[in-house]
Symmetry: C2
Amino acid sequence: MTKEDKISIGLLGAGTVGSGVLELLQKNAASIAQKVGKQIQVTRIFVRDLEKYAHLAESYALTTDIDDIVNDPQIDIVVELMGGEEPAKTLMLYALAHKKHVVTANKDVVAKYGRELFDAAEANQVDFLFEASVGGGIPIIRPLKQCLAANEIQEVMGIVNGTTNYMLTRMSQQGMDFADALAEAQAKGYAEADPTADVGGLDAARKIAILSSLAFNSRMPLDKVHVEGIEKISKHDIEYAREFGYCIKLLAIAKREGENGINARVHPVFLPVSHPLAAVNDVFNAIFVRGDAIGEAMFYGRGAGKLPTASAVCADIIDVARDIVHKGASRILCTCFEETKICPIEKVANPYYIRLLVADQPGVLSAIAAAFGAQQVSLRTVVQKQRVGEYAELVLITYAVPDSHMRMAMQTLAVLPAVAEVSNIIRVEDPHFS
Amino acid sequence: MTKEDKISIGLLGAGTVGSGVLELLQKNAASIAQKVGKQIQVTRIFVRDLEKYAHLAESYALTTDIDDIVNDPQIDIVVELMGGEEPAKTLMLYALAHKKHVVTANKDVVAKYGRELFDAAEANQVDFLFEASVGGGIPIIRPLKQCLAANEIQEVMGIVNGTTNYMLTRMSQQGMDFADALAEAQAKGYAEADPTADVGGLDAARKIAILSSLAFNSRMPLDKVHVEGIEKISKHDIEYAREFGYCIKLLAIAKREGENGINARVHPVFLPVSHPLAAVNDVFNAIFVRGDAIGEAMFYGRGAGKLPTASAVCADIIDVARDIVHKGASRILCTCFEETKICPIEKVANPYYIRLLVADQPGVLSAIAAAFGAQQVSLRTVVQKQRVGEYAELVLITYAVPDSHMRMAMQTLAVLPAVAEVSNIIRVEDPHFS
């Protein structure tokens, strides 16, 4: 076989997703070849430990030297599935510099070094694709770049972390505590031994940085994404949410905030149970998009896992292959041609849910209402819930108020003698009260 | 301006969707130009009545002569938005023969004459795109052709007709009758004066013929799609569905039926309320896809309307424009490279819901059970509901049984003296009982 007949891939990393890609390219080889017009094959695999992947040595040329891959003239596409920032980033830049098309599932690198990688791809006139970096198998990068390209996007809002969605679903459906839900997620392999990046929201932050950059054609640096995790969510919050017609989801949100620019954030929200995202449970992910022409759209599926992620990686491979066959590479590269102002979280307005422990005595409610009123925070609902020891639990829902006002109100509240504890404070994402 | 600087469009038809396309291309002209690398403009519009569209004559060259468009060397793309089979089909073939790229929203023509149009596009090395023909603004054609291209698809199942979904939602949420729901849909402009194509399922059939052809890479002729409408659904059926944990939706379904081939059909179903499609209400559409790698995925949004449909049409225009800029046209044309057998409805197995009026006397139930048993139809649930005059209403749910057996059982049932009426029979689409 000559190069003309086949398209060859150098794979970096043969872990879970890598083995999924090998499996899928083999299983559906015939139909993929017909769609592309050429056969697609992995020829070389870069691994860090030859011993560990000895079982692959029969079918593929294993190497620990990246030069074996980037200097192989037969190889057209480098597929990076090692994860983590380094050496993945350096290897991808090296491959691009050698005029290899690059496909990756690496959200860490795309979120942080997207510009550098796009520039390198453009300079070398090759493709750089990363569909699997957000939402696992769910098509969302390509829809944003192509299918919704005629829209001015107003917001992108997603459940993009399966671990936390699984935990919140279990807490909601089984009345579980946070700790039990986490233990179960770990036992099922949905959460890592160190769950910080998932539970704390960083994983979702990387994904919304990528989605925001695509949706608004303006780069969203990861360190500008406001991040809160689900550590403080208790089953009481979930029960109260339900009483008010909401569920609790960890959402990654990027929105145009008028003249203030674009804001991106990750935090738990009270979401109306009628919202399409409210029905997204367990490890499923979904991304909700609002555009000026399309209106509301949602993309739903498995946000992680060997084969779903491989599905997205292979879609990118097929697209690159079609570009190679039709000699149309680097058709759609960086779309961040704008530099829109970034809106700090302080200026973002939302209604809030607040759960307090207060002294159970006359006058307390009016003191609390006064503290909110002083910061122009209007209360939509105030409900006294159970007694906890000598205190009364109070649940409030406010009308929309900028984050900065709410912070001031909470500071005032914290020093009120009657307030024993601010148990939790969660934003409400409700189109009817925004 | 020379042709090098701009990409010019000849528009066929300036009705609702056409005016949406004009509006959208103007509103978002700047960002579209940046995404494509060239400006995109409509220059000529083919209309059948110059008087009616006189208001457009200031900005566009109106014509009633198609030759003015196909012979204009400045025009790169012909966008057909006239609807209906003729003259749309002839005009598209004529434009393709003149080496114009063609974008259309016309499900009638794509469902019936897809092969002819693809062949013409291929012969002339131009693009033929039709994202708006299914699901309005929802990206589904491109996801099937690109994002899920590495998958062997097992099923595509969708709510693809907004009129009937609106009616069923109203019947379900407000307890409305079919006639009242239809009248309301007509009053709101969701249903046409002659609602036959929507209510009877033909509109959905056209869409599933297109989706099936794409999903299974094998052409599904429209006349092989089994079609039933929602005319016979009563509010009683909806109430009973709810009692059993189901809702009623009009689904368009295409599935691999093992060695029997591929079956495509449109009919109302009992769908578990926990299914992602069950939450798709009002005029919204959604398409649910199951593939061997991605698992379950769903695409949700507005299935009709001026701007949502224009969003999909403009996405196609942008894709063609990118092909023109990068000289990579006809990258993805016909993908029906297989000829998979078509499975007739008779061989498709489903559980069924059956509502009967029977004589309210001893022995009736055993006679009915025997009639089913003779056709190897097992009953999962038998419930006696209200009395209707001298009769009792009986509701049955069967286990999965091939359509042909169910037909035989119903024939036997119809001649049983104790059975006064078979009020309705509806398939159950439940992964747990298939």
